[in-house]
Amino acid sequence: MSKPKFVYVTFIRATPEKVWEAITSSDLTEKYWFGYRVSAEGKPGDRITAMSPAGQKAHDDPILESDPPRRLVYGWKPLYKDVPNERASRVTFELKSIKGQTRLTVTHDDFDEGSRIFEMISSGWPAVLSSLKSFLETGQGLEPTWVEEEKPWLK
C-alpha cells in the first residue's frame, strides 16, 4: 500500500447509517456537495458516478469495496475538462460510531509521484466534509467558498 496522501477526519452528530446515506445517495450529495450528484450505492464492481451541477459527467469509477455503513472504497479519476490525464487514485471512507457521533475518516491515496491532480484536490475535501457535517447537523450544507476563477475545472 502506498503512503496515504491525505487523511481527513470529521466528527458528525449523526448515526453511521445517516452518514452512509449522505455519501452514497445522489439526491443527498446534491444538497451539500456543491450541487454534485454523486451516486455510490452499488456493490463492488458497480460504478460510482458523479454529475456536475452543469450536468457534465465528473466521475465514472469502479466501487472497490462497500461494507455499509462502515467502509466504502472507490476509484477516483476526475473527468473535468482541462484536468491532467492521470490514472485513477483511490478514496476510502471509514465510518465509526463514537459516543453518539460518527467519526468519518476520508483517506485519499494511490497517486503517482508528481501527480498534478493531487495538488488540485487538496482544498476540496475539507470543504466537502465541512459542508457534509453542516448538512447532517443543521439540514443545510454550506455555500462553496472557493473562488471560481481559481478552479475553472469545476465549472
Binding site: 496522501k5 475539507p126 470543504a127 465541512s130
Partner: protein, 104 residues
Amino acid sequence: MDEVFRALADGSRRELLDRLRAGNGQTLGDLCDRLNMTRQAVSKHLGILEEANLIATVKRGREKLHYLNPVPIHEIGERWIGKFERSRLQALSDMKKALEARGE
C-alpha cells in the same frame, strides 16, 4: 471548538502543524528531527493536536504516520468568513505577500 483554539494557542504545536503542512504523513521520529524539543514533549503536543482533531494518524506496520487535518480549521473559517469575503481576503493576502517579498 474550544479544544481547537487551546491546541493552536501554543507555538510549538503550530510549528508541528507547519511541518506536517510541508510534509504530510510523518512519523514521530521525522517530526523530532531538527526540532528543539524532547521526544516526550513532541509526543505530548501531538496527543493534544490529535485530541483536537487537528491531526489524524494512520498506523502503517510499526509506524504511526501523522497527517494535518484541516477540516476543523476549515469549519472555523466557514463560521466567520462568508463566501463573498473570501476573494477579497485572498486579494489582500496576496498583496501583503507581494509587498513583503519586495521589501526583502
